[in-house]
Symmetry: C2
Subunit: 528 residues, 2 copies
């Protein structure tokens, strides 16, 4: 048997016919260039032009330029040896070459298939398909989870949630476990909780099991999910995108089908934003409807318990366990707030409008009315919301943060520093505006369902610049604050897409107490 002798050693060659001259030498040059990261040599070995293609199962790059761009940005260089080569000549000037590879130290096997063609006497790769050896997985993805079990906590009863699995945001007390709040210094100072939060206990009593305790942004004071200590959980709907937060770990665990239910909190969008970014169902409940006992507070005037699921039916089963008995109100009007819609990116705003009109036209939502809310009023309300939220967040966490300097991630630290400057007078003024807004919104929402975007756009890229992140955040907060101001339930449904295909949520916001009605609307309309 012929032997291939290259940079990684020798390997047997099995061919279906005479191996064309120069082919194995060209392949050797390719392997050498790859393992030494000789980008110029690799570029020269790939055929020029728009038809050259390289794929690896996750990404398909078409055109020499796209492939060259990928190579120049690559920072991890493969280490491997070729363990076998198959050659399948096609005529005199083309051959398919398949090389089996193996990572060092008994590592995983890989396979690369290359279509080589001889153009003007020189062998070039026209198409390549690479199966990369899988990297060893850690015992647990620490960007998603802090503790996990099979399950971690067994059900304590039977009921509508029999067999359902739950990821609990690391703000809830779970008996025998500490509460970590997304910050390692905080965690280090905790003792195990003696009792579980009532919301957790109710799920266990209804037959659910707790798979584990999942990540939160630090003290829940972010909408991004980019925890400085534990990383950003994956967003399977947008592989290059952030997860959204602060209920970041539970959302990713639900999206990855690791659990059925993500139990979290929503003060200013912390359920709705990750639901929107990951294409999930997310319910923020009516303020005060679900006990927040045993849950670390952020801003009690707005804090609510909520949950993320992959479908509305599961979300309703949770609602039947955690929420008071259903009221029998049903909306007779669909509301739109053009001022709010205009804060979304144009593609999301357009998708929302189209979907909202379709739902009304098909009778899945009641007749549409445009409501009037000026930009000035929205801005005044939003400022009051943020001021009061910040004041309460500092009241809840300021002492600990002051005593533990340097322990917060930069963005959360900056937010708390700003929060620390708010005076009691400013907070009192904000509280008055919030009270007014709540009254106005109560009138507006009476018998109505407000349909707005859950977030200004889809998930920003993990490496998006601060301006882009801040623009998304600023628009989103002006949408999400309305439920907080109203003390109202808000249900994010995976109904929209950005122009480039990222999911975005359509949000149903109802009068306080209408939580189950929103879920019923979603279910009867086939919306999730």
């Amino acid at each position: 048997m012929k032997l291939f002798s290259g940079i990684g050693g020798t390997a047997p060659v099995q061919a279906s016919g005479p191996v064309p001259p120069g082919l194995l030498e060209a392949f050797d040059a390719y392997e050498t260039a790859l393992l030494t990261n000789d980008v110029a040599a690799l570029d020269a070995l790939f055929a020029p032009g728009p038809h050259t293609v390289r794929g690896d199962g996750t990404h398909l790059l078409v055109g020499h330029d796209a492939i060259a761009g990928f190579r120049s940005g690559r920072t991890v260089i493969p280490t491997r040896r070729v363990t076998g080569v198959l050659v399948r000549p096609v005529g005199d000037d083309a051959a398919l070459l398949m090389a089996s590879t193996r990572a060092p130290a008994g590592g995983a096997t890989g396979l690369q298939t290359q279509m080589w063609q001889r153009v003007e006497g020189v062998w070039k790769v026209g198409a390549a398909h690479v199966s990369l050896p899988a990297r060893p997985a850690p015992a647990v993805d620490e960007s998603i989870w802090r503790v996990v079990g099979t399950p971690m906590v067994d059900a304590s009863g039977r009921g509508p949630l029999d067999g359902a699995t739950v990821a609990v945001k690391d703000l809830f007390a779970v008996a025998g476990q500490k509460t970590g709040a997304g910050n390692p210094a905080w965690l280090a100072g905790q003792e195990p909780n003696v009792a579980s939060a009532p919301a957790v206990g109710a799920l266990l009593g209804a037959g659910a099991v707790i798979t584990g305790i999942a990540r939160t942004d630090e003290f829940a004071y972010s909408l991004a999910g980019q925890n400085a200590h534990y990383g950003t959980p994956p967003n399977p709907a947008v592989p290059q995108g952030i997860s959204g937060g602060s209920t970041s770990g539970p959302a990713s665990a639900v999206a990855l089908r690791q659990v059925d239910i993500g139990l979290g909190t929503d003060t200013a969008g912390s359920i709705r934003v990750p639901a929107s970014y990951q294409g999930l169902v997310g319910l923020r409940t009516t303020h005060g409807a679900v006990s927040a006992e045993g849950v670390l507070p952020l801003a009690p005037s707005f804090d609510t318990v909520g949950w993320l699921t992959r479908d509305a039916a599961t979300a309703l089963r949770v609602a039947e366990v955690l929420l008071p008995a259903a009221t029998a109100t049903s909306a007779t009007r669909t509301l739109a707030l053009p001022t709010v819609d205009a804060l979304a990116t144009p593609d999301v705003a357009r998708a929302l409008q189209t979907e909202r009109e379709r739902l009304v036209a098909e009778g899945l939502l009641p007749p549409l009315e445009q409501a009037d809310l000026t930009t000035e009023v929205l801005e005044e309300w939003f400022t009051a919301f943020r001021t009061l939220q910040a004041h309460e967040a500092w009241a809840a966490n300021g002492d600990w943060i002051t005593a533990h300097p340097g322990t917060l991630g930069a963005d959360v630290a900056a937010r708390f520093t700003a929060a620390s400057t708010i005076t009691d007078d400013q907070a009192a003024e904000a509280r008055a505006v919030v009270g007014l807004a709540r009254t106005v919104l109560a009138d507006l929402l009476e018998g109505a369902v407000l349909v707005l975007p859950s977030s200004a756009g889809g998930a920003p890229a993990r490496d998006a610049g601060p301006d882009q992140v801040e623009a998304e955040r600023a628009g989103t907060l002006r949408m999400t604050c309305l439920a907080g101001l109203a003390g109202a339930p808000a249900l994010s449904l995976p109904r929209l897409r950005t122009a480039d295909g990222r999911p975005a949520g359509l949000c149903l916001l109802g009068a306080p107490g209408s939580d189950r009605d929103l879920l019923q609307l979603a279910i009867s309309g086939g919306l999730a």
Copy 2:
């Protein structure tokens, strides 16, 4: 742009030249056959003969027959749709086709590359490379772990194990956690432990953290790792092989680099066998040298605490924490027991002999002597060992097993049933033989290191027949029982290979108390 219209819907086709007639129709027939599991049609679409090839990064199948055999044995049928097709014609009668695919419900992307060739007017696939969409990973691999954290338990002090991560076999008490013993019915009846086992506490005090509690065979009464309730942990060194047990989960966690140290127990090989099968370092300690307090007993006459690592230096750091101060004995003789070697498979026996002679010749081990142990004596000792082990195992677990019928996996249940029949008289007789063997072995091991195989062969296949498993087990137990009979330490080192490349352990068995000497021998000889 041209459209491909097939069973999964339509997809754009991008070609570098005119698409040869009939090619897309043939590809459509292929997709239809694949998604409907029409094995005959798939066989007909692959070119006949020995050069047809199909690879997926893990396996490469060469020849039409091998591919057909794979298809006929496949039980999971892909569900996916084609999202894009690239065609790269090569002459008139050949074309490379690359199809991007996507799993349902926003699932992962895949890529398949096919070399099509027209033979006598009919298009056939001559080569195929498939990147399968990755399956969603669970939150935790329940074949390896029961509970896991980041970490699960923090260090309580600093020392030689600073930052080292530990998987604790589910037989050790960990404060705040239950002890599961590899059986869900047992686990359900447990309360969380108030205190950790001293061995666990000592590791934490020396700076190690506990990543989690890892799987054991039920009540540690098996060498296979094939837990009937939680599955068989992966063996990364032998992907189709069993893990070995009963310290199965810790071994896999170490081999997968999820932790540095696997803390376990060894009664009749439960550290040495998984070390052997997975290419790890595994130390069974001198009987009584490490406290077994807080560890569920199997057979106290032989039970020992031990650990698995990827290198001998880490194993020595653990020894410095858990074992008494070093004695200063050093072996002056290397012993071989031809009777025992002969129980290994011929390839392992040969590999052992070659390696042992090399080590002696290079002065890494002291001069070699052949010791005399007849098959009859070995068989008598082994029978006594098994009898006493079984009697003690029933004494430790019989009441619970009797009270919980039907809760054990079949093989472990059968073993306990057999154990239940052993009379006190039989046990007393066995104990006398064990005492005699211990005296004989103490003489034999004085100033010596016995070099033998850690297991009769490499890891059996997961689907190996019962005869093969029993043959491997029978040979292995006659090797591993010697350390138990002697109360002696035994160190398995990843020095051997089976004929087909599976790892197997070379075992150093020393006089009681020589645990650290064995590790020093391994380190100074560069053996692991």
